[in-house]
């Protein structure tokens, strides 16, 4: 049987810079196929060539054995390739049904939309995936997970043979991931292939059949998931030896911790609303304090309270011995606090501005003399950071939107390091970043702390917290409930701490 998708010898360059060099990819019918690689390895370019967003320079694409020259996303859809992007292209305020049938509405009298039929169809498709929701409600009233499933259901109802999922789980919590996996398995049962792009290697082992690894625009390996290991895949991605990585540990955080200094910031009984009701923290110079907890436990809200974004309604924040919450980011920065936000796109980058302008944004007042920016100093500083952090950019005036996710994240990290904050709050600093950049970012953070600055680290990856943090404040439903101290924290102790709180919470609910 011919492969469903067969891409061979694909080449593509942008302005003379090769993004794909002799890359290949084969997806069998009814297979869940993972595509992994560092940011900038060529995964997205490969997908965009497949879906007709980019035109390939060279090479061949066969769909079910026949030469394909898909030239636009619309044509790709007609050829049975559906793409579910990280940012869903759905209309949040319209109903689930409308979103599902948009562009393909069943008509009566050839003119009016037959909503009864449309609703029936939407319900039927969703129920095939075990989802039972009111299809008349606006899409926005459902969780991200459900919205994503609606996008998938829409794709399937349009007779997709291949569904491409780009980081589908990055914004889902554990139970939602399970639902998504159920849907992916259901797709497989129906003979639909899935091309699954993800940074979370653990997921691949749960649902994928085969995995293709890319590096530097080339296809490095295609392996059966059942006969490979996480370590082997990481080695493929990085182009390094398995043994070497095993010896070093999986993250770059581990290592001697710096000497603990004075308390730079502390919070006592801080609350900002229902999502943060009782937060305690004391951060010393030279230490990383992790905030551990599940989604919605109040970690990000705690960061926003410290940074002056959400107004404190109870409790006190003390910075450098001075009690009082910063009135906003501007004042927080003046007091020596930096905050790398979780949502890179919405709260981090200014897409049309250059790497240089993005990097110096937070420390601009210091580059300014009588309102005028000192361009010579700005360029020197940016150059220093580009070199030190290994930011891959054509030149410092390149718009940041053209950089890969990992490099954008490095620029944002540099934005905060440049302000030389005494306290740097990092909210998911390595989310959606490839393995290589992740290790680099972790080592920058460690080095910064060793210089005697304090870091508050928020991460959903237990591994990162356990290895990175000197102490972990465990949070649950808006309260800080317990504290763990390294050395001695393992993923098990952290999970236990979370689980115990969960039981307490339940007991409390019963009362």
């Amino acid at each position: 049987m011919a492969a469903l998708v067969s891409m061979a010898g694909i080449e593509k360059s942008f302005a003379g810079v090769p993004a794909l060099r002799q890359a290949s990819l084969d997806v069998e019918p009814g297979e869940i196929h993972a595509l992994i690689g560092q940011n900038g390895a060529g995964k997205s370019t490969m997908i965009k060539v497949l879906t007709g967003v980019y035109r390939r320079d060279n090479g061949s694409v066969h769909l079910a054995g026949r030469e394909s020259n898909v030239a636009s996303p619309r044509e790709a859809q007609e050829a049975g390739i559906a793409t579910i992007y990280q940012e869903l292209n759905l209309v949040p305020l319209r109903s689930v049904t409308e979103n599902m049938v948009m562009g393909y509405e069943p008509k009566s009298l050839g003119l009016f939309v037959n909503w009864r039929e449309a609703n029936r169809r939407a319900r039927e498709v969703l129920s095939r995936f075990g989802i039972d929701i009111d299809v008349g409600e606006p899409l926005a009233s459902y969780s991200t997970a459900i919205q994503q499933l609606v996008a998938i259901a829409r794709a399937v109802s349009l007779d997709a043979k291949l569904v491409i999922m780009d980081e589908p789980t990055s914004s889902l919590d554990a139970s939602e991931v399970e639902v998504l996996f159920g849907v992916v398995r259901e797709l497989k049962k129906q003979g639909v292939s899935v091309l699954y792009v993800s940074h979370f290697l653990d997921e691949l082992f749960q649902i994928c059949d085969r995995v293709t690894t890319m590096r530097d625009g080339q296809t490095v390996s295609t392996r059966d998931v059942s006969s490979t290991s996480k370590l082997e895949l990481i080695a493929d991605m990085l182009g390094r030896d398995k043994g070497e990585i095993a010896a070093e540990g999986m993250t770059e955080f581990a290592g001697a911790s710096a000497k603990r200094g004075d308390v730079v910031v502390s919070a006592a009984g801080v609350s900002t609303g229902p999502r943060l009701s009782q937060f305690d923290l004391s951060l010393h110079r030279g230490e990383i304090v992790g905030l551990g907890g599940l989604l919605g436990s109040g970690r990000t809200e705690a960061a926003k309270a410290l940074f002056g974004v959400d107004d404190v309604i109870g409790g006190t924040i003390t910075i450098h011995g001075e009690t009082g919450q910063p009135s906003g980011p501007e004042s927080a920065i003046e007091k020596g606090i930096g905050f790398l936000t979780e949502d890179r796109k919405a709260e981090g980058i200014i897409p049309d501005m250059s790497v240089r302008e993005n990097l110096t944004l937070a420390m601009l007042p210091r580059l300014t003399h009588r309102g005028q920016i000192d361009f010579a100093r700005e360029r020197d500083l940016v150059e220093k950071f580009i070199n030190n952090l290994g930011i891959k950019t054509a030149h410092m005036d390149q718009p940041i939107r053209e950089l890969s996710g990992g490099n954008q994240q490095k620029v944002l990290l540099a934005r905060w390091l440049a302000t030389e904050p005494d306290v740097l709050i990092l909210d998911e600093p390595t989310r959606g970043v490839d393995v290589g950049a992740k290790r680099e970012i972790q080592s920058f953070i460690r080095r910064y702390v060793e210089k005697g600055f304090g870091v508050v680290l928020i991460s959903s990856e237990f591994e990162e917290l356990v290895e990175g943090a000197d102490r972990i404040v465990v949070m649950h439903e808006g309260r800080s409930v317990s504290e763990l101290t390294n050395p001695g924290i393992t993923e098990n102790t952290l999970v236990n701490a979370l689980a115990n709180n969960d039981e307490e919470g339940r007991a409390w609910n019963v009362q």
Binding site: G328, P329, I333, P351, A376
Partner: protein, 325 residues
């Protein structure tokens, strides 16, 4: 230090659309040279420069407001208000008794009042989070009303050569207001390219949330943008009054908001914000003015010229679609 001298590229840079604008300008010039009688005469140049200066001055202010992702519909009304105030001041008993002070106040007070209008717009938008279109609609409606109440709806005519210099003076043979517009453009270009305020302006337009979280003074910058726009509108209002030696609150600045928005957009301003092509606004103003002049000089009705303007705006917006490709 060659690299230190280089002007920063980025959102202020002028790309293909600018060349598109230049091509349109060239086309208009060629057409007029061939078909419009007496086009290649100094008198024509003077008329066009004195007309274009007011559009350009307002369009530059509009460009700055648009750079924040906003819009200012009140520019025409602010012109009328400033224009109505000036003659009231220098023709008052006090102004006649102290001519020098009277003239000075006739410039300062209207511009100050215009600035207050800008503060009102800016506070509505930045502090009270009212949609810019709605916020500026308030003064769009009431500003001209206030101007007409101030003048009892009368046409104020005057003869005051000192004040009229603003609209009729010449430097090196070219109209004074043309030089004024050019000077303002140079200052604004410098502010946007070189100062922290300019950087924050573009950052806020590019991603307001990210700019805020990076310590950008979002409210102050937005209010500042509306104040600049309003003061420039006030100045344009004074120029119109000076040209005519008469202030007509009902007509001064009428439909100027459309001309200014059109000029800004033709000049390359992006309605979602993040760009402030100041010289683009001037180019846009010249194109708008030339289209008006071309139609008028060839006997087409003024009302039809409005339709032509609409076509230009549509074309400019269409051109913007290519930007993100």
């Amino acid at each position: 230090m060659e690299r230190a001298v280089r002007l920063p590229k980025g959102p202020t840079s002028i790309g293909l659309r600018f060349h598109g604008g230049l091509a349109a300008l060239l086309l208009l010039l060629v057409f007029n040279t061939l078909f419009t009688p007496n086009f290649l005469q100094l008198q024509t140049l003077f008329v066009n420069i004195s007309q274009v200066a007011t559009i350009a001055i307002v369009a530059m202010g509009m460009t700055i407001v648009i750079a924040t992702g906003g819009i200012d519909l009140s520019v025409g009304a602010v012109m009328a208000l400033a224009g109505a105030l000036a003659p009231l001041i220098f023709q008052s008993d006090f102004g006649v008794a102290n001519p020098a002070l009277g003239i000075a106040l006739a410039f300062v007070v209207p511009l100050f009042v215009a600035g207050l209008c800008g503060v009102f717009n800016g506070v509505m938008v930045a502090t009270m989070n009212v949609q810019p279109i709605i916020a500026t609609l308030i003064l769009f409606i009431s500003g001209r009303g206030i101007a007409q109440v101030l003048t009892n709806g009368n046409l104020q005519t005057f003869s005051n050569p000192t004040f009229s210099y603003l609209g009729t003076g010449r430097i090196l043979g070219l109209p004074f207001q043309g030089w004024l517009a050019l000077a303002i453009a140079c200052i604004l270009f410098w502010v946007i390219a070189r100062t922290i305020w300019g950087r924050h302006l573009l950052a806020i337009g590019g991603n307001a949330r990210a700019a805020y979280l990076s310590g950008g003074p979002v409210r102050r910058v937005k209010i500042g943008a509306y104040v600049i726009c309003a003061v420039l509108s006030g100045l344009a209002g004074l120029i119109v009054v000076a040209i005519n030696s008469a202030s007509d609150a009902a007509r001064n600045g009428n439909l100027m908001e459309l001309d200014a928005i059109a000029a800004a957009v033709v000049g390359g301003a992006l309605l979602q914000g993040g760009r402030a092509p100041i010289f683009g606004a001037i180019l846009g103003a010249i194109i708008i003015q030339l289209v008006k002049y071309t139609l008028l000089a060839n006997g087409v009705e003024d009302e039809v010229a409005l339709i032509a303007k609409a076509v230009i705006i549509i074309f400019a917006v269409w051109l913007q679609q290519f930007r993100r490709a």
